[in-house]
């Protein structure tokens, strides 16, 4: 009998506590919005200041203007289209024999490049990884593997390549406007990340030939945008049916 009594007493003592009190506003799902208390910690702000000042002087340089929002999308998106188109233009200028360009949506790290000024910072946020530009020559058969992967993934950022995804299969494939020929080898412009087999892109690995440009894709995009802007061009949100779904 005493056991029970003592246990109840101990339990009562143990349960007797005040619940956690906070100044933060409580919302649904236990979610507390700190809107009333969102002040900055001054020590932190002071630590950041010298880094921010130096960075801002570099990052806030305007290099381009976008006429509309450019967005990531499937099977094609205006953001991925722009990136690949710019890389193809760069390749042509450099006399690189690229037949088509393919990148991965995972490598584009902002969902939207907003209408208006494009700063160096914007391109850093779009493409923070230090990926380099690579040109690989692969067989028609390997190309088919790559196209199958693109179709399975419901599209990818491309340029110089057209296809219709029919039931997760790549059909009506065209390269540079001409029908794809499985007996031809093609030069593919891409990132070293994909050329090394990243994102399951094994088809690009172990190519017939590989040329490493040793330039960061981000730096190429910045240079390309600057040049275009200097020539009076702006960025368009282009969706031209390069990859469509049946």
């Amino acid at each position: 009998m005493n056991n029970k009594f003592l246990f109840a007493l101990l339990f009562a003592l143990a349960s007797c506590h005040t619940s956690f009190q906070s100044n933060f506003k409580e919302g649904k799902n236990n979610k507390i919005i700190s809107d009333a208390d969102g002040e900055s910690d001054q020590t932190i702000t002071k630590i950041i200041a010298p880094y921010k000042t130096k960075l801002d002087s570099l990052m806030t340089i305007r290099i381009m203007v976008a006429d509309a929002d450019l967005t990531k999308g499937s099977p094609e998106g205006s953001l991925g289209n722009m990136v690949c188109d710019l890389l193809m233009r760069y390749a042509q200028k450099q006399k690189m024999q690229a037949d088509f360009c393919v990148m991965n949506n995972g490598g584009l790290r902002i969902p939207t490049l907003y209408k208006g000024d494009v700063f160096i910072r914007t391109v850093y946020e779009l493409m923070p990884f230090d990926n380099q530009l690579v040109l690989v020559k692969i067989s028609g058969a390997k190309c088919l593997e790559l196209f199958a992967l693109i179709a399975e993934n419901n599209g990818a950022p491309v340029s110089g390549l057209q296809m219709v995804i029919d039931n997760s299969k790549a059909t009506e494939i065209k390269i540079g406007g001409k029908p794809f020929d499985v007996n031809t080898d093609y030069w593919v412009l891409t990132s070293d990340y994909l050329a090394n087999g990243g994102d399951n892109s094994g088809a690009l690995k172990n190519p017939l030939e590989r040329i490493d440009k040793n330039s960061l894709i981000r730096d190429i995009l910045i240079a390309q945008m600057r040049e275009m802007y200097f020539d009076g061009e702006t960025l368009q949100a282009k969706i031209d049916g390069r990859i469509t779904k049946k």
Binding site: L13, H17, S22, D41, T43, Y51, L55, L58
Partner: protein, 316 residues
């Protein structure tokens, strides 16, 4: 097992009764009260910060004005003031995502987390983006521990710099924290992780958690995981980890940038509760879990939870 715990408890109460006696209980209730006061521990956590030092710019349609290290730090300070000792943890991918990382290599991220008083972090795949040498270069700026138990670094320059687990003593409790990382092959360029060997997270977790719980007698075993919350296929994830292991109380996750509105409770291999939580990414939220350890009550420790959205109201 539960039966033996119950009889242990009865035994313990009998002994207590015998030692204290009713006279003593009546004469000094304060002492008894002191002995039976529940122990409380707050755990604050973040994941996938991705170098978001500053709040998102106002132009950002999704997160304009949200996040930022300065607001997070002030909130952490406030909670510390209210509750004293706590655990502050991060589940990886501190690096990569803004020019701060490209230009300073993670130095500022580590400095700020040290100032906020982080205790322990695990490694995400993007923490390898500056290579292992890049990571080592920034480590002097980190006044917190790095844990990972399923990467074998013995043939890499990280040898000895990452501990499999770490034990913390806070609020009179012993807390074991270990880390698990995602398979790097195919996700991170080979040259960046070099000879790091990946081991099966489930097997490693069972081994380490058992040791922390039984041998080291930790009151709470926490796994900092960068495996990801869950996948459509049966790839190893926090969900798989929670259900296929034992001796883990809490899994704080990352990688999939999952905004869980509240922690999810799973039943582990032996039908005990495991709490899983993840708070999105980019330092947009801070998770808070509070454990209450009632003396003599040997039940599953289930925490209460709070979630803070971090918004800088000054700049908006």
């Amino acid at each position: 097992m539960e039966e033996s715990q119950k009889s242990n408890r009865k035994q313990f109460i009998k002994q207590t009764l015998y030692l204290v006696g009713f006279g003593a209980l009546a004469n000094s209730p304060v002492n008894v009260l002191a002995q039976t006061e529940p122990k409380r521990l707050k755990i604050l956590h973040t994941n996938d910060w991705h170098s978001r030092i500053e709040p998102f710019p106002a132009i950002d349609k999704n997160y304009g004005g949200q996040g930022g290290a300065a607001v997070r730090a002030s909130l952490i300070k406030k909670i510390r003031k209210e509750s004293g000792e706590l655990l502050l943890l991060d589940a990886g991918d501190i690096f990569q995502g803004t020019p701060y990382f490209n230009f300073y290599g993670g130095e500022l991220e580590y400095k700020l987390m040290s100032e906020m008083g982080y205790d322990c972090v695990t490694l995400g795949n993007h923490d390898f983006d500056g290579g292992m040498d890049g990571l080592i270069k920034q480590m002097p700026h980190a006044k917190f521990d790095f844990v990972n138990a399923n990467y074998d670094f013995s043939k890499t320059p990280l040898q000895g710099k990452i501990k499999p687990y770490k034990i913390y003593k806070k609020q009179g409790l012993k807390i074991g924290v270990f880390g698990l990382g995602i398979e790097l092959k195919g996700l991170v360029p080979d040259k960046l992780f070099g000879n790091t060997v990946y081991h099966d997270p489930i097997a490693v977790a069972n081994e380490v958690a058992l040791m922390l719980k039984k041998e080291k007698k930790c009151d709470l075993v926490i796994c900092l995981s960068h495996l990801g919350y869950k996948y459509k296929n049966n790839k190893v994830s926090d969900e798989v980890l929670a259900t296929q292991t034992q001796n883990i109380d809490l899994i704080l996750g990352g990688h999939t940038h999952t905004f869980l509105p509240e922690p999810i409770f799973y039943k582990n291999l032996i039908n005990k509760s495991v709490c899983v939580n993840q708070v999105g990414w980019a330092g947009l939220q801070l998770g808070l879990l509070e454990y209450t350890f009632e003396p003599f009550v040997n039940t599953d420790a289930k925490p209460s939870s709070r979630l803070f959205s971090l918004t800088n109201t000054e700049n908006v």
